[in-house]
């Protein structure tokens, strides 16, 4: 996985954002990401991301009685997510300001 969580639709970022609300298992993550962010994560993509986030210590598994193991975001994961959110927020703010300041992009 790249060191930086680049891109607003980067799967690791989406999974972290989904878990920031509350712990979830795999299906709940895919549903949440699809409903709130409009991105469909396949099973292969989701579990590749879960494996890497878990290896990086950004999420951790919780105990479960059945096959549907829930995950929760760790303190390190929350920090990484917060840093990326702040970065994206600055970019969005800058873009919005420059677009509105430039009369040539009035329709953008």
């Amino acid at each position: 996985m790249r060191d930086k969580l680049n891109g607003w639709a980067d799967p690791p970022l989406l999974v972290l954002a989904s878990l920031a609300g509350e712990p979830k298992h795999g299906y709940a993550i895919t549903q949440d990401v699809a409903e709130t962010m409009g991105v469909r994560l396949s099973a292969g993509t989701l579990y590749a991301v879960i494996a890497r986030l878990e290896a990086r210590g950004l999420i951790e598994p919780l105990e479960s009685d059945d096959r549907r193991r829930p995950y929760r975001i760790t303190a390190a994961g929350a920090q990484a997510l917060a840093q990326q959110s702040e970065r994206m927020s600055r970019v969005a703010s800058l873009a919005s300001h420059r677009l509105s300041a430039n009369p040539g992009w009035a329709g953008a």
Binding site: E22, P23, K24, H25, G26, Y27, A28, T30, Q31, D32, S42, A43, G44, T45, L46, Y47, A48, I50, A51, R52, E54, A55, D66, R67, R68, R69, P70
Partner: protein, 305 residues
């Protein structure tokens, strides 16, 4: 916590079979950790052929870039033994493929006029093969002798036989080859069908020669500096075999481009299939050797591989 058990859409039997097949191509440690969860996700979402295909494709990075946390309980010796066994087989297959190419081209004395690069490729391949054989012998000999001595001391005839497979299998094959060539060969050598039979028998002999020590590794479970040396040597062999692979690839492509009238190189199907096999064998050799070398250089007390 959000339960979200899903629509309760039960996948069809064929879809379940596809998903199981897709999961089967993942590394065993990955399957043990995530297999049930993935199955549960696909049961909830009603996964079908597309989901299974997406899952299967993701197995490739799982093999090439395994997540460390899946191996943090594995003893480095276990990782080294597994890598050695895999490298033995994959490297012997790769060497066999290279020798077949050499027999069909270099040993026929064929060099396309005006294209020295193919001659260079032959030389690079020869040097790489010789060096890798020396490295394998030098690095593997202490471990082999250690295991042989232990099998003899502990009266384990099956393990002794497995360890002697690299000597017995090639000897039997070469004897059979000599008898075959004398019986059915002519002035121009053997017919294409006999060449194919001899080649397949050669691969079988190479497989047995490589599998024997692999089985012995699993049964005798050696540890220590001899194992580490053999694993590092396997890494060196893999690196050199990558150079040999590159030489084969360049030579085959060159023959297809510049010598289409020679042997079967006017039709790219056979060379294409051949190159796929060569690259696959090289990839397995390199990945397994790298994982073994990582375990060999792991710090004492650290269980990362």
């Amino acid at each position: 916590m959000r339960a979200g058990r899903g629509r309760g859409v039960r996948p069809s039997a064929s879809a379940t079979l596809l998903v199981r097949a897709a999961l089967a191509v993942y590394p065993p440690s990955w399957r043990a950790r995530y297999g049930d969860e993935v199955q549960a996700l696909l049961d909830d979402s009603g996964g079908g052929a597309v989901a299974a295909a997406s899952l299967a494709v993701r197995a490739i990075p799982a093999w090439f870039w395994p997540s460390r946390h899946l191996y943090d309980r594995m003893d480095p010796s276990v990782r080294m033994r597994a890598s050695l066994a895999t490298v033995l087989i994959a490297a012997s297959m790769l060497a066999g493929l290279g020798l077949v190419f050499a027999q069909l081209t270099q040993l026929q004395g064929y060099r396309p006029a005006g294209h020295p690069v193919i001659g260079w490729c032959y030389a690079v391949f020869d040097a790489a093969l010789a060096f890798s054989a020396l490295a394998a012998a030098g690095g593997g000999l202490p471990l082999w002798l250690l295991m042989l001595r232990r099998a003899h001391r502990e009266l384990r005839p099956r393990d002794s036989a497995c360890l002697l497979a690299p000597v017995i299998a090639p000897a039997v094959y070469l004897l059979a080859l000599m008898v075959t060539v004398r019986s059915v060969g002519g002035a121009d050598g053997v017919s294409p069908w006999w060449f194919l039979a001899v080649t397949l028998a050669g691969f079988a002999a190479a497989g047995m020669a490589a599998a024997g020590p692999g089985v012995a590794l699993r049964r005798l479970r050696p540890r220590g500096s001899a194992l580490r040396l053999a694993t590092v040597a396997a890494g060196l062999v893999a690196a050199v075999m990558l150079i040999a692979t590159a030489a084969i690839v360049v030579a085959v492509i060159g023959l297809c481009l510049w010598a289409p009238g020679f042997a079967g190189y006017h039709d790219v199907t056979v060379p294409g299939v051949y190159l796929v096999l060569v690259v696959a064998a090289a990839a397995v050799t390199a990945v397994s050797a790298a994982r073994g070398a990582r375990a060999a250089f792991a710090k004492p007390g650290s269980r990362h591989t």
